[in-house]
Symmetry: C2
Subunit: 267 residues, 2 copies
Amino acid sequence: MYRPAGTSIDREWLVARPRTLKPGRPAYQQIADELRASIRSGELGDGDQLPSETQLIETFGVARMTVRAALQVLQHEGLAVAEHGRGVFVRQRRPFRRRSVQRLSRSQWGSGRAMWEADTADDRTFAATIDVTRERATDDVAERLRIPSGTDVVVRRRLHSVDGQPLQLSAAHLPADIAAGTAIAEPDAGPGGTYARLEELGHPLERFVEEVQARMPSPDEARLLVLPAGVPVITVVRVAHTSERPVEVNEIVVNSDLYVLEYEIRP
Amino acid sequence: MYRPAGTSIDREWLVARPRTLKPGRPAYQQIADELRASIRSGELGDGDQLPSETQLIETFGVARMTVRAALQVLQHEGLAVAEHGRGVFVRQRRPFRRRSVQRLSRSQWGSGRAMWEADTADDRTFAATIDVTRERATDDVAERLRIPSGTDVVVRRRLHSVDGQPLQLSAAHLPADIAAGTAIAEPDAGPGGTYARLEELGHPLERFVEEVQARMPSPDEARLLVLPAGVPVITVVRVAHTSERPVEVNEIVVNSDLYVLEYEIRP
DNA sequence: AAGTGGTCTAGACCACTGA
DNA sequence: CAGTGGTCTAGACCACTTG
């Protein structure tokens, strides 16, 4: 009973359904419930096309805005994506890429590989540097770097992509007294990246602290990361410390659909 | 120019707006853009009421479904919440609670405190155990525990709340050969919880590995955690290891609005 | 009772996709 | 071209909150 992903089974789905809606619960939610159940059970698999709006209208005997509301529910739950002119499809699930934050080890960036390349192996990778600027630190960044608010920082803003797929945005902030005039203030920071340069400059990195949160993306973030509705972002604020002081604050926004963050804790 | 949070400024907002929409971009998106800008700028602060649907209809000269679409956009971005019969409000922001996963230290659970109490200090806390059951391990859990698929496990499912506010769901899975017949299989596992019992039973915990992801909640999760639209959940799969074997897989789902996960990495 | 949001209809026109 | 989803209207009735 094998059926390859992406097969259209609209017609089968159609005849298998009861077409009656019970009073008490809104119609659009009942329709969403049925479709959701079909997705969860696997009856509708990854990439399969959902019944079209027209088909749902006929099946359930409701107005178009009602079936659209049902489909919107599924999209905002991250279960389906609409493609204009094509149909609504079960959203392809889950990370084809995983990230071990554990790989923030010296062996990684010491060897000239960026840490986000850790699991990439032989894939093609890109890090499109949007820009490197010198700015006044925001209050939050200044506090985390333990420098006076408004002090100059070098900011490296980047959009990381792999095989053309945007994965994450990052904005690394370093105190200007450390980074200005060095390779860190250049678009290409050289082999091993910022962390390798910091060590060379006499700032050996002792520990990283990461704060992890999740939220829905802003419209700008959704555009840059090509996020469909219903996909949140994970935000990471990483602070790199030497034994003396914090030397970098990196604000990272990742496509939560493509990442698994991995941490190891030793009590 | 101080204005306390929650103040209604509908009328001010109304007169300050242009009421013309430009062609090219959908009307509901332009309306959402204006409201979003007001929220981001702070003109509309935490808990403030947005203009009502009626006011927006008059201001922009569009149909009701159009302004509703605009308000839906903001709700799904997590910027606003609607309250039936009251209005639409700027969503109160961000964690009044923070969690240091770093606190998975022996000193915490050794001292009889659960790790999710680490930062709670003198707040009132509750952990409503939904149930403790014996089940066959799912494929995923079995693989993580390195036991044959279908082997019995003890499952402790809980809903954690603080001051009546639900924070997280968890489902801890332990191999039956370790946990069955012990306090771990009881609803109240005793002081220090599962981890303290494991140590007493001769399973000293050496390391924890956590995999962190984010996604939109299922309807059930949204109901249990009382999540409004536009708030994702963070999922954590924590595996506790002795030097010999993995002894617990804990599947955790947290309200991303109330948590900051914190990790420390030493290269 | 007045004002708010929640659901729903029966249309319309448009933009995009694919054969 | 037919079929798909995207936007929008002008109504309707309902449910909830507040004074």
